[in-house]
Structures are given as C-alpha cells and as structure tokens.
C-alpha cells in the first residue's frame, strides 16, 4: 500500500498567528521553503522538520504524518 506524507504546517502556523515569512524567519529559511512544505510540493529533510517542530513548539509527529493512499 502506498503511503504519502501529509502535514499540518499551515494550520499550526495559522493557530500561532504566524505568516509564512514569519515562520521562515524563526526557522532560518526563506518563505519559499515554508510554502513548498505546506503545499506538499517538497518533503523536508529531518533537520528542517526538527527546526519546524522547535519553532512551532510541537513534536514533529504533530506536524507530519503518514496517510495511506
């Protein structure tokens, strides 16, 4: 069974009242990176996933999860 990565980055960011640019600044990347991760165009590295987790104050599993297709 194929699996795909889904994320709640957009929702978690919105809950904290952060813009893409604001989150990008916290993580130390560009808005482009946040945008591509939110749109599931790009699967981030473990390093970036951990940075996002730290910036949002939630475990990585709360941001990213696997969904069966």
């Amino acid at each position: 069974m194929a699996e795909r990565l889904v994320n709640r980055l957009n929702a978690l960011r919105a809950e904290r009242g952060l813009t893409q640019a604001g989150l990008a600044e916290r993580v130390g990347v560009t808005r482009k990176t946040i945008n591509t991760v939110e749109n599931t165009v790009f699967i981030p590295s473990t390093l970036l996933a951990l940075k996002l987790s730290r910036a949002l104050g939630v475990p990585v599993e709360e941001i990213f999860s696997l969904a069966a297709e």
Partner: protein, 149 residues
C-alpha cells in the same frame, strides 16, 4: 532607505531569479537560430565574436544553475537562497538536462548516418539542449515554489 532583513532580501531575489532565468535561457536558445542559419566560418572576426559570446552566455547560465547567481550579495543572503528546496530543484533540473542531452546525442548519432555533422555543431547542439532544458526546468520549479500558496 528601508534596510531589508536577509530573509526579505533572499525572498525578493528568489522571486526575481526565475523570470530572469527564463529571459536569459530564451535569449540563449534564440541564438541557435542565428548560429544554424549562418554557421560561423571562422574566416571573419565577427564569427569569433559570436562564438565567444555564445560560450560566455553558456558559462554564465551554467554558473547560475550550479551556484545560484547573485554573487555580489552577502554570504548570508546567498546561503538562504541556497536552501534545501533550491538544491532539490537543481538536482531535478540536472537530471532533466542529462536525459535531454542523452536523447539529443542519440538523435544526432542517427542523423549523422545520413547527414554529416561537424564536431563543433554537435557540441553546440548538445550543450544548448542540455543546458537549456536544465535551466528551463530549474526556473519553472523555482517559479512554482515562490508562488503564494
């Protein structure tokens, strides 16, 4: 004048890079028409100018593809622009360029059985196709990435 943060500067340059690449690569590919409609004979100084111009543009395109461009910006801004999304786009674009070059090489090989092609013309075609496809793909991926989502 408002001083932009490194993030804001990188964001602006990211937005500028994709259209800039499209313009340069289209200009680069349009040069092919001039090259093949009037192949340089290397008997006139203007032929050398054309060839050197084409090589210079190809080198600049390759450098932008591999290093991202904007060399006069600060190291911090360039590091932000060289993030993992950009590196992934580059890897994908290089794969596209490689496949395009291989297909073009196979076509040239077959074509050469019927119509002789000079070595310079073959290199010109392969370089143009490989670099052109790679840069176009990179620009398209970057453009999609900077679009508001």
């Amino acid at each position: 004048m408002i001083k932009l943060s490194d993030q804001e500067t990188a964001e602006r340059l990211n937005r500028r890079r994709a259209p800039m690449l499209f313009v340069i690569v289209i200009f680069f590919l349009l040069q092919q028409e001039a090259y093949f409609s009037q192949p340089p004979t290397l008997t006139r100084p203007v032929d050398y100018v054309r060839l050197v111009g084409w090589i210079a543009l190809a080198t600049v395109l390759l450098a932008i593809l591999m290093r991202g461009g904007f060399w006069f910006k600060s190291a911090a801004v360039r590091a932000l622009m060289e993030d993992e999304v950009t590196r992934a786009h580059r890897a994908s674009a290089l794969a596209t360029g490689f496949v395009a070059t291989m297909i073009a090489a196979i076509c040239l090989y077959v074509f050469n059985l019927f119509e002789p092609i000079t070595g310079r013309a073959a290199i010109h075609i392969l370089l143009s196709i490989g670099l052109g496809f790679a840069v176009l793909h990179f620009a398209a991926l970057e453009r999609r990435a900077v679009k508001d989502g």
